[in-house]
């Protein structure tokens, strides 16, 4: 804790984020948070105390020099401020939007002790947007090439960060991405109204401008395996394949029409732009009574998307209570403002279909919270005989995602945990020499910024590994 006494003039409240009004935004897919004005950004930047030992930095997994960029911002040196951020973070417009800042940098900001912390993420977003809108995104000078080649598998936040950092160190990074667009969850999972896809595209383009190659439509494990990549000219490999397999509930009737996994639902809506069907070719069907099962970001994103697609009523059904919901507070509030309903302490036990094989009812059982489980959260236990049914015509199952398994099953000697995640040390080193991994594929479902932090550390470790070789 720094000892600086808060000066009397300190404004305790952060600048509020301008947003689309709930009754308007619930009908469109445009971004909800509109971003600060220049004036607001300056006002907010002026709140920063420029701590000599800034605690905020310890909370940022990609180690952004927070006070320095804020100082440049308030001096009006926007270009330099943006450059300062990009020394460490190649995806600032993304992070400024979806980083759980309240759990990261801002949690440690000293101002949090007397009022609201500095809105670091919103300032980062403002600078990144300023630079992009100006249409002249500066990149660092090209480093001398090392002649080393690294294969990066997966173009999610972990892979993009690893590739960017490797390129900045002079290595040739080639990203292999299985889907037809880069971004991972940023492009197929997180909805347009929270993270516009044009921004993901622009930041992925920036990574390419640093010198990384991007190959789309390459499912590694099927088209090339890791041993093959190492044999055909790659000196090292980074695996950032994420946790993309949908979990189902395993109850009766889950095959019925109208029941989507959250991944299917969000892939249709985001990656394939089904909200613009038939202008885009991929369809989606939304009913009147939609339920979303789960309590995380994926559940709130699905619920809010369903509302925008025209559902009359959307209800999140979660087996624990509000306090245990893992979704970001801000997003739960946004969802409630938009009119999403929540039913706590209930869990589906089966789905009932109509004569055409379409879901028409969901049977649930009430839960109560028992003693805490391994995760420290109170375990929900079913209440005998408390079953009830709800009329539903669309169900989105958002109860978790597990690691993509194709790499693990096609790479001999790669150590894997019983949950299917890849075993790696804190620098991303796996059981195979020259093969590194990071992000959700190592930790299981986590956050954008932790995946980026892992990509960054692995890039550094790969660099050391490559440069020690003769």
């Amino acid at each position: 804790m720094a000892e600086s006494k808060p000066k009397p003039k300190i404004k305790k409240e952060a600048e509020p984020m301008p947003k689309q009004k709930p009754e308007v935004r619930r009908k469109n897919f445009n971004e909800v948070a509109l971003g600060y004005s220049e004036e607001q950004a300056k006002t907010e930047a002026n709140r920063c105390l420029q701590c000599p030992k800034p605690q905020c930095v310890t909370g940022c997994p990609v180690e952004i020099s927070i006070p320095e960029f804020i100082k440049l911002l308030r001096e009006g040196k926007y270009e330099e401020a943006a450059k300062k951020i990009k020394e460490k973070n190649s995806l600032p417009a993304v992070c400024g939007r979806v980083c759980p800042q309240e759990e990261q940098c801002q949690k440690f900001c000293i101002l949090g002790k007397v009022g609201e912390p500095v809105s670091i993420g919103r300032l980062e977003r403002w600078l990144a947007d300023w630079e992009r809108k100006r249409g002249n995104v500066k990149k660092p000078d090209d480093p001398p090439p090392t002649g080393k080649k690294v294969a990066v598998i997966g173009a999610g936040p972990a892979g993009l960060t690893a590739a960017a950092d490797l390129a900045k160190l002079g290595h040739k990074a080639v990203i292999f991405e299985a889907l037809h667009l880069p971004g991972g969850v940023l492009v197929y999972g997180i909805p347009e109204f929270r993270l516009p896809k044009s921004i993901v595209r622009a930041e992925a383009d920036y990574v390419q401008s640093l010198g990384a190659d991007l190959k789309l439509g390459y499912l590694i494990g099927r088209i090339h395996t890791i041993p093959e990549l190492l044999k055909t000219g790659f000196d090292a490999v980074f695996i950032g394949t994420g946790a993309g397999l949908p979990a189902f509930l395993g109850v009766l009737g889950e095959h019925l029409g109208g029941i989507y996994s959250a991944n299917e639902f969000l892939i249709r809506v985001n990656l394939m732009k089904a909200y613009a069907f038939p202008f885009y070719d991929t369809p989606i069907r939304i009913g009147k009574h939609v339920v979303v099962i789960g309590g995380g970001n994926v559940a709130t994103d699905s619920a809010r998307s369903a509302l925008r697609l025209g559902a009359e009523e959307v209800c999140i059904v979660y087996r624990r209570s509000r306090e245990e919901m893992p979704a970001r507070k801000e997003e739960i509030e946004n969802a409630e403002e938009e009119g999403i309903l929540c039913k706590f302490l209930a869990n589906p036990t089966r789905f009932i279909g109509d004569e055409k094989g379409w879901v028409k009812q969901m049977e649930c059982i009430c839960m109560e919270l028992g003693p805490p489980d391994e995760s420290g959260r109170r375990r929900p236990v079913p209440v005998k005989g408390s079953e009830f049914t709800m009329d539903v015509d669309t169900v989105v199952v958002a109860v978790g995602r597990t690691p993509n398994p194709i790499i693990q099953s096609t790479t001999e000697g790669l150590a894997v945990t019983k949950w299917g995640t890849i075993v790696a040390d804190e620098n991303g080193k796996t059981s195979i020499e020259g093969v590194y991994a990071g992000g959700d594929i190592v930790t299981g479902e986590a956050t954008v910024i932790s995946a980026m932090g892992a990509g960054k550390k692995a890039a550094r470790a790969i660099h050391e590994y490559l440069m020690q070789e003769k």
């Binding site: 095959h255 029409g257 991944n263 394939m272 732009k273 069907f277 991929t282 369809p283 194709i406």
Partner: protein, 279 residues
Amino acid sequence: MYEIVGKRELAPKIKLFEVNAPEMAEKARPGQFLIIIIDEKGERIPLTVAGYDAEKGTISFAFNEVGKTTKQLGCLKVGDSVQSITGPLGNPSDIRNFGRALCMAGGVMIAPMLLQVRALREAGNKITVVVGARIKELLFYEKEMKDLSDEFYVATDDGSKGYKGLDFLKEILSKQKFDRCVAWGPVVMMKNVCEITKPFGVPTVVTLTPIMIDGMGMCGVCRVTVGGKMKFGCVDGPEFDGHLVDFDGLINRQRMFLPEERLSSLLWELQGGCSCGGK
């Protein structure tokens, strides 16, 4: 971008494309599939690998023009390109010497089946081939199949050529013992074949065509029930033990987006269909 270097009409509304894709040409095996996206606004559609030539660096697939995307695809010409192809996806077929194999192919699936028949033959199997279609005009590859097989039959739904329907299979099956049956075609045909082979105890493999998006295990739309368990068509299949498949469940799920598909197709035709789709 993947350039189309060959185009052939196999039968009315059934087309075979050959595209430049050297890395895929080296890796693809019988039984696997590709996911194709025509353009920026296009959907991802799965099509079975119908040929590969590692030397030329090309890969082929055949498709039936049934809806918006396949009709639009059919309008492309040699020299045009599709935006994206991902593959090979799914597990390759099990190819080894089983002994005596019965290969049944219906409709557009006759095209990829040719690869399978060739591979099974090279592995030393004795092969009986049956090709079928709704009407005789939709048959193709008869000569190619005949040349590769020990016994060859034709069947049509209306009896316009060869046997009428699939009942004649019972005769073939009672005359000699088969060690394996591979049936690829419309779901209803595969379901019927499985009902016929089951009492004879012939292990029967089918290839399932549920609706897919990513084709790599990420969305779960392709879930099918096999032996009472939920499987993903794209990563656990596409081939499964036909005697364990819940075909009715599959048919139901395939119809999920019928109204939207009709709308899409209709709109495309109203906008002039081929004349704009062909660039």
